[in-house]
Amino acid sequence: MTTEPPRGAEAPPELVQLLTPEGERVEHPDYDIDLTPEEVRGLYRDLVLVRRVDLEAVALQRQGELGIWASLLGQEAAQIGSGRALAESDMVFPTYREHGVAWCRGVDPVNLLGLFRGVNHGGWDPAEHNFHLYTIVIGSQTLHAVGYAMGVQRDGAVGENGAATIAYFGDGATSQGDVNESFIWASVFNAPIVFFCQNNQWAISEPLEKQSRIPLYRRASGFGFPGVRVDGNDVFACLAVTRKALADARSGQGPMMIEAFTYRMGAHTTSDDPTRYRLADELEAWKLKDPIERVRAYMFKNRIADQDFFDAIDAEADELGRDVRKRCLELPDPEPLAIFDHVYAEPHRLMDEERAQFAAYLEGFEG
């Protein structure tokens, strides 16, 4: 096999960055952002709190309280930046790792834990939060998102008071047929959608080279819409780029793809052992690009916050962690007969029959 870089991969991709890993603000010709100190503090708080919830969830899994957990560690900026760019009427279609976006949409973290604990399959009301259920089958949700956006379009909600739809997916997902079909549909129907790809460099054990020989954002142009690569560990850039893409979608300019270039700092899930397939050096290099540290450095340098502020956020995070843990442990196991609930929207003879049989069977043990 050749060691040459594949054709088409030579040109260095341009990365939109507004805040360097050292916490320096930099300019970009196409994207800018003007944040008040209050807004910066808000973003920092979001980043710290979602990381704390994530850590708590990992700990809960280790203690046997969750079946599994998919950590967002390292991807906080991509999720908070894009999540805070959303308007209330925008609709989100997440994967299973979008805990930070869920946070921005006001979904109680304990709801997320319920799925991973195995008490439900999600169960929050997507319409209440404009945040769809987590989708585990890789890529499926991108088509749902496009269909939803086509509905928005047919409702006339494009233009001045338009609403956008955003589909989240990973680098691995870009290989799925569904995702490629969703690009085609979005393009052909000029759907008001943003494709937000978190390229965290890995799909379980497979590095990006197993999915693509060109930078992912460049795929978009072949489908007929723009693509951009953003520093996924830069919350300012993620916010700015997503804001612009959403605004364009809402106003009728059609789809756009954002590739948030980031890194999965943890294991794929708590069941995974990344030492089997990746080197520690890579992790060390990405540690220097931490999404939270750079905001903190920026805030210090620009006196946007003092030590008291940081201490207060840390305390709030600890309190949140405690609260989430407590409420997770209190989640009741569902009743056995709940197996038959919500399978159909309308009464269903077979469900009734099997529910009754099962109830009788369970009663046999009580007698």
Binding site: M1, G67, I68, Y96, L115, F116, R117, G118, V119, N120, H121, I136, V137, I138, G172, A173, S175, Q176, G177, D178, A203, I204, S205, E206, K210, Q211, S271, D272, R276, Y277, D333, P334, P336, A338, I339, F340, V343, L350, M351, E354, F358, Y361, G364, F365
Partner: protein, 327 residues
């Protein structure tokens, strides 16, 4: 004899098949360096290289579609679908192409493709990781469908599936991957039970339990428990679902007069229905009771905290045995 887990037995079986035939390829998501999420392909890429053990892009339709192409070019691909619930993106390639292309060619083309699917529940997983989709595939003519239940069969059946000229859907009970047993890796292949044959794994006189994959062990435990109540329970491991070894099954049921089919999949339109219908045809005058089916409720697989209620267990099987005697 060596003691192997089911995962390791399958691994050794594939290794042997790859040594025996340079055309055998292994392909799937994370099968290379990681060795698969269940480690069933552990070490194969290291020993056979990336040309023969292929970490594919994340696309199941692509895995099966390209496996068909490789088979057309003379290779024998062994595809891993990471979890049961993720075989559906490949359903089109399996059902419309893999199953039917040989027929379209009037037999000129053969597609010796194996599709390995870790199946079933019991591991506390999230949605789509605990399914039992066998009936979709047994309903598709052109596919052979088999399920191994133990390490010894894992070792031989995977090799037989790879040698078979037909496409084979190969179910592996994921919750049994870590269970160990003695495996005779030196027995010549001619001595192996053909992989389309069922096997009596525990002889008995009063009732027959039919199972495959993960439920074989559950049935064996139930049979042991029933013996304490003075009931002699025969357990048959079907091993092959399509074709079904109906002769062996009918012989057993004609002898015992009572039968329950046990599977994790939902009962309604499940594989048990086919067996029950056939036994009614073959053993009508020998039956002391209707053939019962023990399986999952006809609902989607529940969240893991409920899976112990969903999955047939010792009590559910014994309950069926009681009902067979009470009829």
């Amino acid at each position: 004899m060596t003691t192997l887990t089911l995962a390791k037995a399958l691994n050794e079986g594939m290794r042997k098949a790859m040594e025996d035939d340079p055309k055998v390829l292994v392909m799937g998501e994370d099968v290379g360096k990681l060795g698969g999420v269940f480690r069933v392909t552990d070490g194969l890429q290291k020993d056979f290289g990336e040309q023969r053990v292929i970490d594919t892009p994340l696309a199941e339709s692509g895995i099966i579609g390209t496996a068909i192409g490789l088979a057309l070019r003379g290779y024998r691909p062994v595809c891993e679908i990471q979890f049961d619930g993720f075989v559906f993106p490949a359903a089109d390639q399996i059902i419309t192409q893999l199953a039917k292309m040989p027929l379209r060619s009037l037999g000129k083309l053969k597609l010796p493709v194996v599709v390995r699917i870790p199946c079933g529940g019991g591991i506390g997983a999230v949605e789509h990781h605990s399914e039992s989709p066998e009936a979709y595939f047994t309903h598709t003519a052109g596919l052979r469908v088999v399920a191994c239940s133990n390490p010894a069969d894992g070792y031989t059946m995977i090799q037989q599936a790879i040698r078979c000229e037909d496409p084979v859907i190969f179910f592996e009970p994921k919750r049994r991957y870590w269970e160990k047993a003695d495996v005779d890796t030196s027995a010549p292949a001619d001595d192996w039970t053909p992989f389309d044959r069922a096997r009596v794994v525990r002889p008995g006189a009063d009732v027959t339990l039919l199972a495959y994959g993960p439920m074989v062990r559950t049935c064996l435990e139930a049979a042991a428990a029933a013996e304490e109540d003075g009931r002699s329970v025969e357990v048959v491991d079907l091993r092959s679902l399509n074709p079904l070894d109906i002769d062996l099954v009918a012989e057993s049921v004609a002898r015992t007069g009572r039968c329950a089919v046990v599977h994790e999949a939902p009962v309604f339109s499940g594989f048990g229905a086919e067996i029950a219908a056939r036994l009614t045809e073959r053993c009508f005058y020998n039956l002391e009771a209707p053939v019962l089916r023990v399986g999952g409720p006809s609902t989607p697989y529940p969240p893991s905290r409920l899976e112990d209620h969903y999955l047939p267990d010792l009590d559910r099987v014994l309950d069926a045995v009681d009902r067979l005697f009470a009829f």
